[in-house]
Amino acid sequence: MGVGKPMEGTYGVIAEFSDAQSLLDAANATREAGYKNFDAYSPFPIHGLSEAVGFHHTKLSSIVLAMGAIGGIGGYFMCWYANVISYPLNIGGKPFNSWPAWIPITFECTILLAAFGAVFGMLALNGLPMPYHPVFNVKRFEQASRDRFFLVIQSRDPKFEVDRVFNFLETLHPREVSDVPW
């Protein structure tokens, strides 16, 4: 989504709904109407909404797995390098490579990096942080974090034409429709 750089015209057209059900229906309708670049906004996760806006799976899991693997291997390597390669010392008659003793640290490192993967992966994929976004230009959008539900059809959608989008959205019985300036 080409957010941030100033553009001519509008970012899109926004429709406000009063409950989750109608937003979900609207989203489905929009998709069936053939729109691609549109998004729905709700104060809480709505089951099935993301599918409705045509978004199915995320690669978050694989990121987390990868990070976890790196953490685990890295953790063990750290112990091994420090106590076997770099400066081996006879500690209480134990062998240099006391692998059982290094499992806890290996484990913790796995978790730590996996967690980083989950959080920062999620933020990155969501393109956050993004304090500025055109939708905020819409005054009533502040209710999106309370009890209002919004649907935005973006101007970069190939089928986008302001009047037709307006008309289309009106058909979905929104509380009101307005455009989203840049």
Binding site: G4, L89, P129, P131, Y132
Partner: protein, 215 residues
């Protein structure tokens, strides 16, 4: 309410988050540098001395052997600093009225030791034996650098534990024939072969246990 933030906020926020990581890394790298720098290690720092004694002149110029002054270096932990008498052995005859040597004569005359400012100094909890290093074929220059090129003596090596250990782990890289120990200008011909041979010959152990130096 509308927008709270300006467009640029997006870029700024991401850059700061990213930048922070690199910034911290950079700081750590700088600290790492500082603790190895002469500021901490005193490497290469020349100290004010009561008498501008020049090893260059005495060693390179006059060819005096290290052991002439540092008498106990082969037998003791401590190399020994020459008593004033040692200076007077020669300076009773030569440069007898050199301005520079006044403190020496003064010291000898009224039996007041010359107070030198210490150049090589290990912390109290490090116990170092000169004798064994000399006897195992570690040259003076290996640690003290080219003393014979120093007008005013300074500390050639960082004297960090890292540095000590590097030799204790791989003596074959630094060992030299015993007869070359006091030779400042010694350059190894082929250390790759001589090193391991001498290590075997001199029965040099790779001592990295803590109590080798700390007790």
């Amino acid at each position: 309410m509308g927008q709270i933030f300006h467009r640029s906020a997006n870029t700024i926020s991401r850059v700061t988050i990213f930048g922070a990581i690199f910034f911290v890394g950079f700081i750590l790298w700088v600290i790492g540098g500082i603790i190895r720098s002469p500021f901490f290690t005193n490497q290469g720092v020349q100290r004010e001395q009561p008498i501008p004694f020049s090893h260059q002149h005495h060693v390179a110029g006059l060819g005096i052997d290290c052991r002439y002054c540092h008498t106990s270096v082969e037998t003791s932990s401590f190399a020994g600093i020459p008593p004033t008498q040692t200076c007077m052995n020669c300076h009773a005859q030569i440069w007898t009225n050199a301005e520079m040597l006044e403190p020496v004569r003064a010291s000898f005359a009224n039996n007041k030791p010359i107070v030198w400012s210490r150049v090589h100094r290990l912390p109290d909890f490090v116990h170092f034996y000169h004798s064994i290093h000399i006897n195992k074929g570690i040259g003076c220059a290996t640690c003290h650098g080219r003393i014979d090129k120093m007008a005013l003596t300074f500390q050639a090596a960082p004297l960090t534990m890292e540095w000590c250990i590097s030799c204790h782990r791989a003596p074959e890289k630094y060992v030299r024939p015993r007869n070359q120990v006091f030779n400042m200008a010694y350059v190894p011909v082929n250390q790759e072969e001589d090193g391991p041979r001498l290590v075997k010959e001199y029965k040099i152990q790779k001592l990295t246990a803590c109590s080798t130096c700390h007790y």
